[in-house]
Each structure stands twice: as C-alpha cells, then as structure tokens.
C-alpha cells in the first residue's frame, strides 16, 4: 500500500524550478530523498505539505487527497524540519500541553513512554536540548498521536556520528512493525546506506531516479571507472553525477 504518492509536483521560482516531481512511499518502508544542497529536497517536502504553494501536482497521503483533506492528513503524520527550532525558551511540557490538544488520537501513556525511552526531561527548555534530542522530541510528539507517516527534512544534519547512528537505528525500529513509513531527506548519503529501503534522487529540481535501493544502486553502475570493482556507494553515485569541472 502506498502511504504517500506524489505526482507531477511543480513549483516555479524566479531562479529555480521544481519540475514534475513524482514518487511513492510504500507502507513499512524508509524512503530516502537525496540530492545536493539546493537541489529541491526541502521545496519538495514543503510543497507536499502546503507550506509552499505548488503550481501543479497531486498529493495522495494515507489514502486521502492532501489538498482536499489537509487537516485529516496532518492528524496522521509527523513532520520534523531539521534545524528549525520552535519556541527555544519554552519547556517541553508547555509545548506538549499545546500540541496534544490538536490531535484527536493523542496517546498520553505512549507520550510518557517515548519521553522516558528517549531520556527527555519535560522541564527542560528546547534550547537546552542537543540537536539529536530535539529531533527525538519531535519524533516523540509524532509517535504520541500515532503518526503513520513521518516526514523528516534533514533530521541528521549537524549531528555527531553517534547521534546520527542512534537516530538511524530508531528510524529502522519505527518501521519494523510495518505500520509506519518514513520519508527522509538528506544530503548525507551514508545515512541511507544504513537505513533506507528506497531512494529518490533529486537533481536540479527534477527526479533523476526513484527506485528500491538495490535497483537504484545497480542502475548507476555505469558511472564506475575502468578497473573499479564492487558496487558504487550512494555517495559515489551522487558525487559522480553532480561533479562539476571548473576551467580557471
């Protein structure tokens, strides 16, 4: 079952166009959205969520038309915008007290469980949390309203290797039951080597390829140099695809 289907998503800016982006996220899987900085990953996610007004495109989320049923769709998703801190000087308890009111399926015992599991203290302010803990707090909020689709925009950017590994392990745990899916944008491709099931590669605002990870890697093996053995990694694929030569 498709948890998310994006079809023909287009957004024109004066100097950049997100053009005809299409991909699907299957239930129980982690989809990695890769591309270099400025390729259009965040614009794709924000256009999907109506935070940016797309010029064209259709979003089917959890069996619903997102444009027509935005509020109902948002009841069942969790969004983490990496590097965007909300209310830095507010305590987690205050933010939770407000957030929980908006979700009809809020599960307080589950929230308490995730707060303990992630070692989050409700009386701490947002600014007192490390970047990894901030992501975990937002994931705790999402899981507490039974979000079935997690949309994470660069959640591992700026994290140390230990915190990144910790989060990637968590993502894998979250989809293990087969009920949740994760769409995860990043330019740190090694994260996806570890945890993604499917990859969508965006280059200059267009989807270069969207496929199951193994098939994706196989399809780029023509980039191998003579004498190279073994499969190219996602990082090598991205670097070789994006490489620019400067004549200076």
């Amino acid at each position: 079952m498709n948890m998310l289907t994006v079809r023909g998503l287009t957004k024109k800016y004066p100097k950049f166009t997100l053009q005809d982006v299409s991909f699907s996220v299957l239930q129980g899987r982690i989809m990695g959205l890769i591309g270099k900085n400025g390729a259009g990953k965040s614009t794709t996610l924000k256009s999907m969520l109506n935070m940016v007004c797309p010029d064209k495109g259709h979003i089917q989320m959890l069996g619903r038309d997102f444009r027509a049923e935005e509020e109902a769709c948002k009841q069942e998703i969790g969004v983490v915008l990496g590097g965007t801190d909300f209310y830095q000087y507010k305590k987690l308890a205050d933010i939770t007290a407000v957030t929980r009111r908006f979700y009809s399926h809020w599960d307080n015992p589950a929230y308490q469980k995730y707060m303990q599991m992630f070692e989050l203290e409700p009386q701490k302010q947002i600014k007192q949390l490390s970047n990894g803990m901030k992501v975990k707090y937002l994931i705790a909020l999402a899981l507490s309203h039974n979000a079935r689709l997690l949309i994470l925009d660069e959640p591992t950017s700026g994290l140390d290797p230990v915190a990144r590994d910790d989060l990637l392990g968590l993502f894998q745990q979250l989809v293990k039951s087969g009920e949740r899916s994760i769409l995860f944008s990043t330019h740190i491709t090694s994260d996806l080597d570890k945890c993604a099931d499917d990859i969508t590669y965006i280059k200059d605002g267009k989807v270069l390829m969207s496929a199951e990870k193994e098939a994706f890697i196989q399809s780029f093996q023509h980039l191998k140099k003579p004498g190279e053995s073994g499969l190219l990694t996602l990082e090598e694929i991205m670097v070789r695809t994006e490489r620019v030569r400067y004549d200076v």
Binding site: L49, M51, E70, K74, Q75, T84
Partner: protein, 214 residues
Amino acid sequence: MMFNLIYKEFRLAAHPTLYIFMLLGAMVIIPSYPYSVVFLYGCLAPFITLFYGRENNDTFYTALLPVKKRDVVKAKCLLFGIAEIGQIVIAAAFALLRYSIMPDGNPVGIEANAAYFGFGLIIFALFNLIFLTQFYKTAYKVGKAFIAAIIPAVLCIVAIEAFAHIPATAWLDSVSPDAMIRQIPILIAGIVFYIVGMIFTYHVAAKRFERVDL
C-alpha cells in the same frame, strides 16, 4: 480547533509584553498625561509578539499542526483583538475611577472620555489593517509592516491630542454629560470601524498568507 489555536497563542506565542501593555490601559488614572499614548503601547504589543514569533518559528510550528492555513491568521487576529479590547476595557474602568476620585480634567491632553475611546478603536483598526495585511504578505517582514502601520497611528494620536488644544474641538476634550452625549457617535463609529476593520483585515491577511511560501 480555534479555541486550541488561541490557547496556543497565549501559552506559546504571546510575548509577556502583550499582557503588560494591556495593563497599561490603567495609565488613564495618571492625573496629567497624554492619554492617547496608551494606544501606542497597544500597537507595540502585536509588533513585539510577531517579532518574538518570527524568532521562535511560531509560523512553522503552527503550519505543521492539523489546521487550515487561514486559521493561523484568524487566531493571530483574535489574539490581538483580545489584547486591544482588553486594554480599552481596563482603560475604561480606570477612567471611571479617575473621574470619581479626581474630577479635575487632564491638563495635558484629551480626557479619557467617549470620544477618546472611539478614536482609540479607530487607531487600533487602522493599525491592524496596515500591520497585519503587510506582515502576512511575507510572514517574516515584521519591522517593515510595523513602520508602515505605526506612522498613521502616531499621526492620529497627534491629531487627537491637538483636539484638546483647539477651541473649535473643545467639546471633544470634556467629560461633561452634554459633551459626552455629543461624543457618542464617535464611540459608535469607533466600535463599527473596529469590528468591520478587523473582519476585513483577517480576510485580506489570510488570503495573502495562503499564497506565502514558508
């Protein structure tokens, strides 16, 4: 859902000065003071709250909640409406107290009378219209929107205070029962202007915000 959004406004988004400026309505008890300046504080409160909201990514947080984009604007309009009307109500209560314990008029500027409150509502309506509709063009240029809105508000305040010193408009600077009856249409005009202005402000600002790319 709107109640939840207003709860969010008060608990997370409102800067503490919103409450302080609301309480400054009590300044009409000062025996000698240009009372119209009280409305200037009322205009500063929405500016500081939106500035504080921008620094705390309030718009991003709210846009991710299961609410309509235009309801984000409606909640903000209601927050500022509550703060402004709250300031007017506090000022009215202290004006009654002032004239019962200090019946002598305000030698500096306009009296806290019916016309004063009518003018105050007009200032707030005008300020909100410019400030919020300009701000929601981008949802981040709060300083530019404030400058555009505060200049007409200050000019109105100067005009109101000037009325107290012009013989032809002396009836606007009185708390005598006859003068107050003459001032009632200004108060009614202020109430109508404020309500219609706020509804119009919401519609224009919401429409603009729906087109903003966050």
